[in-house]
Symmetry: D2
Subunit: 115 residues, 4 copies
């Protein structure tokens, strides 16, 4: 495995240990999500080509904005399914479970806003 | 070439036609930039694995925030070199060239802020 | 009424016509919200003083970042209560009402992200 | 002086001690800046009225997004003048002064991006 992918993989392993087991709310749209992410991977490769070919800085920055927007759209799609499924299930259970799930979703939204 | 990379490539070609010819201000840090971008590409692959393995949504969102932050750091590094070299050169020339370059940089910063 | 407040007032009137009647989820923390907002209003007045007194641009920008962060914290607090109350109530009702409420919350989150 | 304005005032005083004395690049557009900021102050007051009148949460969030956008537009206008004047003057001086001024501007842009 390439070194640059290590961080994400470690996150995966930690997550597997502490988080609810899948399938999750987003699983029914897996194909769509993977398509979006392959596109984002392609944009990251496109950025490398632009740097290698000495493309004008401002044009590279435009492409960075497009990639950031694509990542945010993916995050919003995932979050919508999370609220519809995981948060909705916690709401039906009520009590502390609901409060925890909503607080967890809010922390994720806050991290998205702060980047 | 994979379809998902087409958009970035087209942007490259357009840029080559209208933008100043390289090497540009960022060229002296090419190796650093390429390393950052390979890491971002690795994160995009890591996200695909997370979706395939039904990792918990919130953990995927945390990884998306990390990728967005990495893209923004790359953009800020590029922008700093752009201001130090291209904008500084335009400032020395003065007049409309300077105003155009500064307006162009501001439009790029505005696009980064709005994503 | 001062002219600069007109836009917000019009939004209020439109909202009153189409949106669910209050009190809403956030109503129980009204005093906290009003305290935060008075502080943000004070920051906006502080920014005017800084401009009038020719304070250094970078120090004004630092204060703008603080005000933006304060607005986002207020928005996150409001959104959390909205999800716990309005969205939770819609989840219990289920069906199209839930989907509409979640879509409406996602659109609000998206607007916050895009600014 | 009202308590909520204290923070901004302290920032002003610190700035006066360490930052270059005005007038600065933005001084020639003072009237425009003050008009924008009075509008933002009016929006903050409009938000208080919305909370007091139990307006629907989503409509308040829409108004928060508008205020955040207005603050960012003000920041971009100020930054543009800063680059055209203070950074341009530092570029003409060259050497460490230029590097410091560019680094300072980049830190301000980074703070705007992270909020």
């Amino acid at each position: 495995m390439s070194t640059e992918a290590t961080e994400a993989t470690e996150a995966t392993e930690t997550a597997a240990a502490v988080a609810p087991q899948g399938p999750h709310g987003y699983s029914s749209h897996k194909a769509d999500h993977l398509k979006r992410l392959r596109r984002i991977e392609g944009q990251a490769r496109g950025l490398q080509r632009m740097v290698e070919e000495d493309v004008y800085c401002i044009d590279i920055l435009t492409q960075v904005s497009a990639s950031t927007k694509a990542l945010q759209s993916f995050a919003l799609a995932l979050l919508e399914e999370h609220i519809k499924h995981c948060v909705a299930a916690a709401v039906e259970e009520g009590g502390p479970t609901m409060d925890e799930k909503v607080a967890e979703a809010m922390a994720a939204i806050s991290r998205l806003l702060r980047t």
